[in-house]
Symmetry: C2
Subunit: 350 residues, 2 copies
């Protein structure tokens, strides 16, 4: 492995590990540290960094959103989707979370020597169908091949460009105490769908990934003039991690009522069986919208016009106490802290 004999060119920052851990990609505390301590100080180009799913910048006369994600999901085909649809919807959703209209995607393929070409065809077809469903065009791409044993079949990267409509400004620092936390639907299906294949679990009712584009739901919110303080899709680390990111980046507290978070019965059952907390399980077609109290009804009406978000419900509030923390209350009046995970609950979920 090429990096093993490398001498550091600068003093190493204080950190707990000398080598990459699985949890560095898990959406929890270690990934946040990696980004904040290693990548941002070295890569970011001086501009005030507004942590977000997409970067929003001026490009000539336009304001655009730009984002990228690599997809290493294992297995690459799963109930309700595959690495192709996931790689399109995931990037479309990151653009949508900035309030942007997704327009163009790139696709970069890293193939392992020996990967079946018919599987690659299926993935390409799935990407095209997903792009058509989301109203974006795949316009540029790249293919690399690595020798057998140096990758795991297929990794896909997509980057996406969207146009941000005039007047739209969405970011965690706009979140205010008293705002409502709206969740677009039931949680945990993507993670459990992946796990069911990976672990060979069979459920009475097959659980399908929620993998879907969220741009139409965001368009409905913008169209109806809802004041959007923050949007965040729930991917790695699930609802709990997304809310933690918002609480940390926006320097607010967030309280949710655990009983209000929709979890389908088979998903809840699988989580119990597997010892997983559905609030931390990955989704690929769910998001939270943080809106001022005055706009809650309008937001719910707008979301419910789109099938993917017709199950939208209020699940919590933004508070001015316990800043940077997320607390869940339950039926019997107890509370628990929903912390950022330190370890890795489910590797290679996306």
């Amino acid at each position: 492995m090429s990096g093993a004999d490398v001498t550091p060119s600068c003093p190493a920052p204080v950190r707990r590990h000398a080598k990459v851990q699985l949890a560095h990609g898990g959406g929890g505390r270690l990934m946040r540290e990696l980004i904040e301590e290693l990548f941002l100080p070295r890569l970011a180009s001086g501009r005030p960094s507004r942590r977000h799913d997409s970067a929003v910048v001026e490009l000539g006369a336009e304001r655009i959103a730009f984002t990228t994600d690599s997809y290493v999901v294992h297995p690459i085909f799963f109930p309700g989707g595959d690495i192709g649809s996931l790689s399109v919807f995931g990037t479309v959703n990151d653009l949508a979370m900035a309030g942007a209209e997704p327009r163009f995607l790139s696709a970069g393929f890293i193939l392992e020597e020996g990967f079946p070409l018919d599987a690659l065809e299926r993935v390409a077809e799935s990407m095209r169908a997903a792009a058509d469903a989301a109203g974006v065009a795949l316009i540029t791409g790249d293919t690399k091949v690595v020798d057998r044993g140096k990758a795991d079949g297929l990794f896909v990267n997509t980057a996406g460009i969207g146009l941000v409509p005039a007047g739209v400004d969405i970011a965690p620092d706009r979140v205010r105490p008293g705002d409502a936390v709206i969740l677009s639907g039931d949680v945990g299906r993507h993670g459990i769908a992946i796990l069911s294949v990976r672990e060979g679990l069979e459920f009475a009712v097959p659980i399908e990934s929620d993998c879907a584009p969220l741009s139409a739901s965001v368009r409905a919110l913008v169209r109806d003039g809802v004041e959007l303080h923050c949007l965040r899709d729930l991917t790695r680390g699930g609802l709990a991690s997304a809310l933690n990111e918002i609480a940390l980046d926006g320097a607010v507290g967030i309280t949710i009522d655990e009983e209000l978070v929709p979890v389908l019965e088979p998903v809840a059952g699988a989580c119990e069986l597997l010892g997983l907390d559905p609030l931390y399980v990955a989704n690929e077609g769910r998001f939270v919208a943080i809106v001022p109290e005055s706009d809650v009804e309008r937001a719910l009406r707008a979301l419910r016009t789109e099938p993917v978000s017709q199950g939208a419900v209020i699940v919590g509030r933004v508070a001015d106490r316990e800043r940077g923390r997320v607390v869940a209350t339950n039926r019997i009046g107890g509370t628990r802290l929903l912390d950022l995970l330190s370890g890795e609950q489910l590797p290679r979920i996306c």
Copy 2:
């Protein structure tokens, strides 16, 4: 491996292989077939596809170039560069080849569990230095981690956005018989630099990669009003493969005089030793410009104002015979066909 037990969902096209070969990523005939027969029919969204290093599209009031590349180079550190600078310059150069001003880059990291964090720091610092040198900003990123043995240390994807100045229109279908083929400098250094580390070769004079940004050279050509029929950077497959792509996409013949192609003495020596043809060896800071005869002197003057292209020379002509083919003439008046390679000369060169 997850795709192995997959059944095809549609009739497989006629092709010579059922599985991915190393040469599918090599920049030669097999990669061209993969793109033309598998990806383009499935992914491209109906728009007339102008095959190019970048896609050029309208975005609101602007015309932008958009491109992506994944980098799997092995080893990740090599004389004259590393996977970080390569991933920035490679994508900057693809934008420049569309005549665009590179503006924004994304960075997607796929890390293997156990990869040293100090090596990752070096790569991030190298990316930032390269971005500063090329005048682009890295504004968005993503990190994924795969379990040990499922990747090879570090893969990097970058995507890039550039603004295309009004009046600039560069593509192979503008190439005309009689046009001159200008090469921006000596060829073969990147490939030999990589090989020297990989194979533990020691040369009297160390050979450094030519890895460099080409945007300033293109800016000089545009500034001086040179009519640019086509630009193409020489990466995988080298000069011969780039010219083949232009000959095929532009439906023209190309003849070069092999004696006019600059190859540094140690590179020529290494190629002889290793049995490689320098015309096929990869570069990461070289390009060809196809310009009408009337603009040759102006083009050469413009190129020679930039250090990276001060060695620019005419190496050949576009012809209206032998369409789709590239022919090299040599000192003694002989000719040879520079065909697209079928196999893989050097895997994982970028």
